[in-house]
Symmetry: C2
Subunit: 327 residues, 2 copies
């Protein structure tokens, strides 16, 4: 059971402390909004950073048979080895920001079925993958959503279409580097799959099973598990946000527990963020033209959440520091 994080009394206490810190009121901008969100998620007026974990859910996709990625499917396995050796972008960032990388094999070398021809997985498989993700919400207090899976931007784009009604031509992007012809082919594969499965967006598990990847299912579960445990989950780009569409269809309040780290350069991500309501005080923290995935944006996002919490906890107040106030 997932509850909204809304708590006006707690919000008032956190806001009061934010105003007492040695800075002009509101001058830390989005970092103050983040501190408030983390406090409401953790249900305390003294939120903490705790253990920082980056979940790296890795899986293969049968839809690569359709030529939707410039990279061959075996790159998923090769990149998992690169994660293990510490040579991938996400592992470099995890070292810098002292985040524990947790590599989870959701189906490397055991791909989903080709969703252009049949459902990617059974409902039982989808449910099992979601439950794996829920269990991994126990791995940290600040949870980053990372992934690796050649072909997964096609699954994510298909989920965007299924859950929001977006046109495949607006949802399909270059992924790891498709040319224009490749993007058109990818959009066509998605259009065919939608016609074949006719996914019902109110049937989250069925839609996920029809189109989704095992790693996307796991991230949906990570979000649900984070919400159950009242933990912060920091999303990355296009893939992890497609999982947020799934999680919302299962438990709408789960999105209260989500921080959107960045707006990716992948076509369709901005539309996806709008559909998720990632606007205003909930808009993505960063806009650095990144489109690598793996959790690279989420790793930087975790460092900003840590900044927000540390500033809230560690700054002196006007009273404690003996600084004159204007009010």
């Amino acid at each position: 059971m997932v509850r909204s994080i809304a708590d006006p009394a707690l919000e008032a206490r956190i806001t009061l402390r934010l105003a007492s810190l040695t800075k002009p009121p509101g001058s830390l901008g989005r970092l103050e909004e983040l501190a408030l969100q983390v406090g409401l998620i953790q249900a305390t007026d003294m939120p903490s950073v705790g253990r920082k974990a980056m979940l790296l859910f890795c899986a293969d996709h049968g839809v690569t048979d359709e030529g939707v990625s410039p990279f061959p499917q075996e790159v998923t396995r090769q990149m998992v080895a690169n994660f293990q050796a510490g040579g991938a972008a996400i592992t470099v960032l995890c070292r810098q920001y002292r985040i524990e990388p947790v590599i989870v094999d959701m189906g490397v070398g055991r791909p989903t079925r080709n969703f252009a021809r049949e459902p990617a997985m059974s409902r039982v498989e989808a449910q099992r993958a979601v439950e794996m993700g829920i269990a991994h919400a126990g791995d940290g207090d600040l949870l980053g959503a990372g992934e690796m899976g050649i072909g997964n931007s096609t699954a994510a784009a298909a989920l965007l279409c299924a859950f929001t009604g977006a046109n495949p031509r607006d949802a399909a992007g270059r992924g790891t580097g498709l040319d224009d012809a490749g993007v058109a082919r990818k959009a066509d594969v998605i259009a065919r799959a939608l016609a074949l499965h006719r996914p019902d967006p109110t049937e989250a598990l069925g839609t996920l099973a029809a189109l989704g990847g095992f790693e996307i299912a796991a991230i949906a579960g990570l979000i649900l598990g984070a919400a159950e445990r009242r933990r912060v989950v920091i999303l990355d780009g296009f893939i992890s946000c497609s999982a947020a569409l799934v999680a919302r269809a299962i438990e709408p309040a789960a999105l209260d527990y989500v921080v959107y780290s960045h707006c990716s350069a992948e076509r369709g991500h901005r539309r996806m963020l709008e559909a998720l309501g990632a606007l205003g005080t909930r808009r993505p923290l960063l806009d650095l033209d990144m489109r690598l995935g793996e959790g690279t944006g989420a790793a930087i996002g975790i460092s900003l959440v840590e900044s927000a919490v540390r500033l809230y906890r560690e700054m002196a107040t006007f009273a404690s520091a003996g600084v004159s106030t204007t009010y």
Copy 2:
């Protein structure tokens, strides 16, 4: 003597390495552009992070006599004590990102003169303050530009007007929290000062002396010193960017060495960034509605520069990791 960082042969070598790393080409977005800039600044195809220092130049301003800040002048001294005790926002962020804070007293309790009535400092004083900043460019390899000085957003806005022809009403912002009447008064003070001093934007030192700020002069020197030593200087918001206008008027190529960390919520900062050419690949890294100053945006900017350099240095190549390429 400051030279441009342009070096096509070096740029080609750095670009080649970026393309060899285990990621889709260009997918790290602005972090790749940053790695290139740092390499060109350090004149090497293997740039390094080295020592991270945050220079905190602190000074008082006679123009506070005009009621341009809601905080009394003594807050500068109180906040310096807060820096020393580690309770200020910038010191919290320096702890998190392992940046050494270097507090430099440029004139705390010994304010500049009230520039609404007379030049803020003599040319000799201005020159001496710039030289102090130049010397402090030796304090680190990645240099953050931080400051504290009640009244300094008025000096910075006056410099924006003097160097770019901006209207005082567009340049004057809320600073630490002025109301509308206060902002109008601040704009009026600046307009009177411009009429009094008639600063010549081609006379950088004279303009700086007229409108000044010892800490602003020191940051201008920090930028010039960073450029001489081929080091990266990460600017913060409205105050440190006003110093960049001064530095550019002395040595235009000095701006090659600058990273703009964030776009502040202070009115006039966006205009100032445009005047500095902080657009496209040089645009600020962050847009988090921050307007605290102290170097808080620059501290986060340093962590992003560190990410860029670490990714460039530490990521495996397709060849070294045995990952299949598409090309």
